[in-house]
């Protein structure tokens, strides 16, 4: 499956692009996708930091399965100083 992953703010600047394409096998999860992006762009975030992901405009856990056509975005920390999490 091929995804055009949208990057914002810090991630956009570090990748030098607001969209990066990534290929992952059928049945891949959010965690598989971020691993692939991080492999292509090792300077996106230090290895010990989790990258938060939104799928179809909703925060997604790493084990969420992806489907072709999903809109995937990488979400850097928001300005309140905490990692985004549901209310």
């Amino acid at each position: 499956m091929r995804f055009d992953v949208r990057l914002f703010a810090l991630y956009r600047e570090r990748a030098g692009a607001s969209v990066v394409s990534v290929d992952v096998p059928e049945g891949s999860s959010v965690g598989d996708l971020t691993a692939a992006v991080r492999s292509d762009y090792p300077r996106l975030a230090p290895p010990e930091v989790r990258i938060v992901v939104a799928v179809n405009a909703e925060y997604a856990d790493d084990d969420l399965p992806l489907h072709p056509g999903d809109e995937v975005c990488l979400i850097p920390p928001v300005s309140g100083g905490h990692s985004p999490k549901p209310v």
Binding site: F8, R12, A57, E58, Y59, C73, V78, G80, H82
Partner: protein
């Protein structure tokens, strides 16, 4: 009322949108660009949003506040793009029959916005910029570079 816009925000419109005859209290928060951070002079801020999700999450904040507090209505307006010193980036207005709930809900609304809404803030200084709240994303070599820079700066200015 939920607004996400690159244009200057209008506090009167946001506050008036929640005022109703059954309310005795309206609390309005204005977040403005402060001219300093950590002793450094800030020249402007820049906000970047994941628009579709930001609007959805602002609606969620509004709905969750109305569910959690005895309030009548919440309105939120957030600006994106460049926001100069003294200008408004965020407005939250809460109307309630009673003032205690209006104050608590408005404060909590701001906290929730800054926790779950995908809007990012960049501070611009005379000598650079930084994305706010991304300290945990600094690489070890960046930290070394920053410390070396600070040390050189201390020598040249003699402080």
């Amino acid at each position: 009322m939920i607004v996400l816009t690159e244009k200057p925000l209008d506090p009167v419109a946001v506050t008036d949108s929640v005022r109703k005859d059954g309310n005795g209290a309206v609390v309005t928060f204005l977040g403005t660009t402060r001219d300093n951070f950590g002793g450094k002079s800030v020249t402007r801020l820049e906000y970047e949003a994941y628009d579709v999700m930001a609007v959805k999450k602002l609606e969620e904040v509004r709905a969750s506040l109305c569910a959690d507090y005895s309030i009548e209505d919440v309105a939120i307006a957030h600006r994106t793009g460049r926001v100069d010193v003294g200008q408004i980036s965020l407005i939250v207005a809460v109307a309630s029959p009673h003032r205690v709930e209006a104050f608590e809900a408005c404060h909590e609304a701001v906290n929730r916005i800054k926790t779950i809404v995908p809007i990012w803030k960049k501070e611009w200084f005379a000598d650079g910029s930084r994305w706010v709240a991304c300290e945990d994303h600094e690489f070890a070599d960046e930290a070394e570079h920053r410390h070396a820079h600070a040390a050189r700066h201390a020598v040249t200015t003699g402080d």
